[in-house]
């Protein structure tokens, strides 16, 4: 995008949409996904397998979240129609919901008795 400020790589009429894609990839694809991955790795684990919670929820969260990001990228790049954005957002939301369900029981104090 910075290169575009010197020489037009992306046509200006698409500029705002490309900015949206840049923000989605940087904030959701990089920072939020890194936070989710690190939380999954580092939060307290269970004593019994599966120690990090349901693998179905974990893979579901990963797949839905990244599926939503791909759909949003398709909308920003005009590969998918504009109403696809709603589907992309729903996928992202369900992915986040799976993550919350997965992580919620793992947020507890160490040394608890129960």
């Amino acid at each position: 995008m910075l290169v575009n400020k010197h020489a037009v790589v992306v046509p200006l009429e698409r500029w705002m949409f490309t900015t949206g894609l840049h923000v989605e990839l940087a904030l959701l694809g990089w920072i939020l996904q890194l936070v989710m991955g690190t939380a999954y790795w580092i939060l307290p684990r269970y004593h019994e397998e599966p120690k990090r919670g349901s693998p179905v929820l974990a893979w579901g969260s990963y797949t839905l979240f990244n599926g939503g990001l791909l759909v949003m990228a398709g909308v920003h790049l005009y590969v998918l129609p504009a109403f696809g954005a709603l589907a992309g957002r729903v996928l992202l939301l369900v992915g986040v919901l799976c993550f919350v369900l997965l992580i919620w029981p793992r947020v507890f104090a160490f040394m608890r008795k129960d």
Partner: protein, 135 residues
Amino acid sequence: MPRMTRWFLKTGLIYFLLSALLLIWMEWPGGGAPPGLQALFYHLLMVGWVTQIIIGVSLWLFPRASRNKPRDVKGIHVAVYTLLNAGLILRALAEPGWFGQQAGWTGPVLVGSALLQWLAVCGYAASIWQRIRRR
């Protein structure tokens, strides 16, 4: 805490302060802030502060590639630090001018800044990739 982590964290804290100062300047009545500083504010915050914190902490806490490879300062980490910060500083210098005139020296400097930051991201990805694995 490894030395490179301290560099990333302390530099990130400086960007955090700078971005807050920039925000005050932008909001100050009659402060005379040039247009286009909002994009610079977000990049100082998200690249200078958040990304730099993430890089520093991941170099410190992620599993080591092997027992034989301690978490010492490595050339590639110094290169990532230098490229990322040089790119950000160049952007901070050129961005206000670009919005003012959209020509002249600012365009090529912004291209250089983009390339430096992209190289930094490539270097970081290459150096951390093998450390994202099972313990």
